[in-house]
């Protein structure tokens, strides 16, 4: 199934990633990490097929564990990224909404 087009996709996505991510300020490096981590939990897509396809019990069970792990990252990763980003406020806004 390995095709040349996949290598094109990989290299181009890598370039896009490089140019976008070099511009992320150091301020947001932790949210960046948790965000990319949540996004790469897209391996959930592969896990779902493995857990749900007619491929034998072992494949289904391994798929189930994989789905669980990936879902932890999807759910936890997006929530925690949002929680962090919510905290970053400019001076003019930080004052108003203190606890």
């Amino acid at each position: 199934m390995l095709e040349l087009i996949q290598i094109y996709v990989f290299v181009l996505a890598g370039f896009v990633g490089f140019f976008v991510i070099t511009r992320v300020p150091a301020l947001l490096h932790t949210p960046l990490m948790s965000a990319t981590n949540a996004i790469s939990a897209i391996s959930l897509v592969g896990s779902l097929v493995m857990a749900g396809a007619e491929r034998g019990l072992l494949a289904n069970v391994l798929g189930f564990v994989a789905v669980t792990s990936a879902t932890i990252n999807v759910v936890g990763g997006f929530i925690i990224t949002d929680r962090m980003l919510k905290m970053f406020k400019r001076a003019d806004r930080a004052g108003g909404q203190k606890k």
Partner: protein
């Protein structure tokens, strides 16, 4: 192309675009939140798209996995405190790698233990399980060190690097054999997975706590590459794209982190920095430190026009960020300005200090990167160093024999007064003496950072 395939591919394409837009939004702090919500929507689209895949017939395992994953992931997202973020990120790399590795193993097994696998796919599967396996154990070790289940100092034994390299070489050998002959004995494949797991342990154990920012970034990159390899193996473009984005991000971060420590990857991974105290470094003999009382420190702070706070790992350990904010508000009320100087490797992961200070409601436009703030130190009346050590050590600038010579530092010593909050005179990581503590314009305020700051807050209140 059937309508179903068209729908799935459209969902994947939309997800890819939303992921890139989401990451792009992180370049602008005010738009980041909305952008990441779009990325989450992309994820949802991709999941829905996959659920209608023609091969998916049993929903039992899927629903169970989604439910269990959500039940574990939700508290990990909502309740983990910001101070625990480095270990939280490390463990999430492990979960990502577990998913990628298991899909690889299941795929190999399902394809007749390699009998029906082509060479290209075998190469992808090999990459997937090898990177996945070493990321699983490597991230778990990093988690253990950050959570202090394991000692955070480098754990080494004689010949460690030889053992590590031998394991990696053996895994690589099996990989080449499998690519040459995908139908080779399955033991080769599973042996490669086992070697990957063992290599991950021996790779991270000898790395000390202060090097964690590089390690976490590198593991981030590996987890991404493993996802990408999954995409190659099962022929799924959205996986390739998302994995490449993650891989690029982790790679860039590790370069930034190593550069900020003036060290190479190889040095971080195989150097076991700090296992022996460097003999040539300057010692403290014949030098004295001035300690300062909270009262005197408070007077300096209360009348300062510009105070630059330099936070380090010590602030994170003491969880003193809220006291920092309280003190800053008092100084600002007195008419002073407070800025924060953030060194790229302060703390245990990229951006660690920014997250903690933002949590304490400190506006992000006051958090300054090293290059931006270094010229300001000469105008500062007081530089307040809270639990930072190596990142403010002038030896990096002027002592050629120092192991950290050449590392970019914050020029704290150029401020008119430097007040250092520190637990004791124990030298920091790697036992390097810090001449800043003995400088004319420095004084030390000993004690737990949180307690010291609380005293300062109290005393500054008395002043105003």
């Amino acid at each position: 192309m059937s309508p179903r395939t068209l729908f799935i591919e459209a969902a994947y394409l939309a997800a890819s675009i939303l992921f890139i837009l989401g990451l792009r939004s992180l370049t602008i702090p005010d738009k980041a939140r909305r952008g990441m919500q779009l990325a989450a929507l992309g994820m949802l689209l991709a999941i829905v798209g996959t659920l209608v895949h023609h091969e998916v017939v049993h929903y039992g395992w899927i629903l169970a996995g989604l439910a269990l994953g959500s039940a574990i992931g939700y508290p990990l997202g909502v309740y983990v405190p910001m101070t625990a973020m480095p270990q939280r990120i490390a463990i999430s790399h492990m979960f990502g790698a577990v998913a990628a590795t298991l899909v690889g193993v299941a795929e190999y097994w399902h394809l007749g233990n390699g009998a029906e696998v082509g060479r290209g796919t075998m190469a992808a599967l090999g990459f997937e399980v090898l990177f996945g396996a070493l990321t699983i154990t490597g991230s778990f070790m990093a988690f253990g060190k950050l959570q202090e289940l394991l000692p955070s100092r480098p754990l080494t034994f004689p010949g460690q690097n030889v053992v590590s390299i031998a394991m990696f070489a053996a895994a690589l050998g099996l990989f080449c054999w499998l690519v040459y002959d995908p139908g080779a004995h399955p033991a080769a494949f599973y042996g490669m997975v086992a070697l990957g797991l063992a290599f991950g342990i021996s790779l991270v154990l000898p790395i000390g706590g202060a090097d964690m920012p590089v390690v976490i970034s590198l593991l981030n990159s590996y987890a991404g590459l493993a996802s990408s390899a999954t995409g190659f193996a099962i022929g799924n473009n959205v996986l390739i794209i998302a994995g490449a984005l993650d891989g690029a991000s982790g790679f860039i971060l590790s370069i930034i982190m190593s550069r900020a420590m003036n060290r190479s990857f190889t040095n971080v991974l195989f150097g076991a920095f700090g296992s022996a105290p460097p003999p040539s470094a300057k010692t403290a003999q014949g030098l004295t430190v001035r300690s300062i009382t909270p009262e005197d420190a408070a007077i300096q702070l209360a009348f300062a026009r510009l105070v630059i706070v330099v936070p380090g790992y010590g602030m994170a350990v003491a969880q003193a960020q809220h006291q920092v904010r309280e003190l800053a508000q008092l100084i600002e009320k007195n008419g002073g300005t407070v800025l924060y100087a953030i060194h790229p490797v302060a703390g245990r992961m990229p951006g660690h200090m920014n997250v903690l200070l933002a949590e304490a409601d400190i506006p992000y436009d006051k958090l300054k990167e090293m290059d931006e703030i270094n010229d300001e130190f000469q105008n500062a009346d007081v530089a307040l160093v809270i639990g930072a050590n190596d990142v403010v050590n002038p030896a990096a600038r002027n002592d050629r024999s120092s192991p950290i010579y050449g590392m970019p530092i914050l020029d704290v010593d150029r401020a008119k007064h430097v007040i250092v909050l520190k637990r004791s005179m124990n030298p920091g990581f790697a036992g390097i003496e810090n001449e800043l503590f003995y400088a004319e314009n420095s004084s030390m305020l000993f004690g737990d950072a949180k307690a010291s700051l609380a005293k300062l807050v109290h005393e500054v209140k008395q002043q105003s």
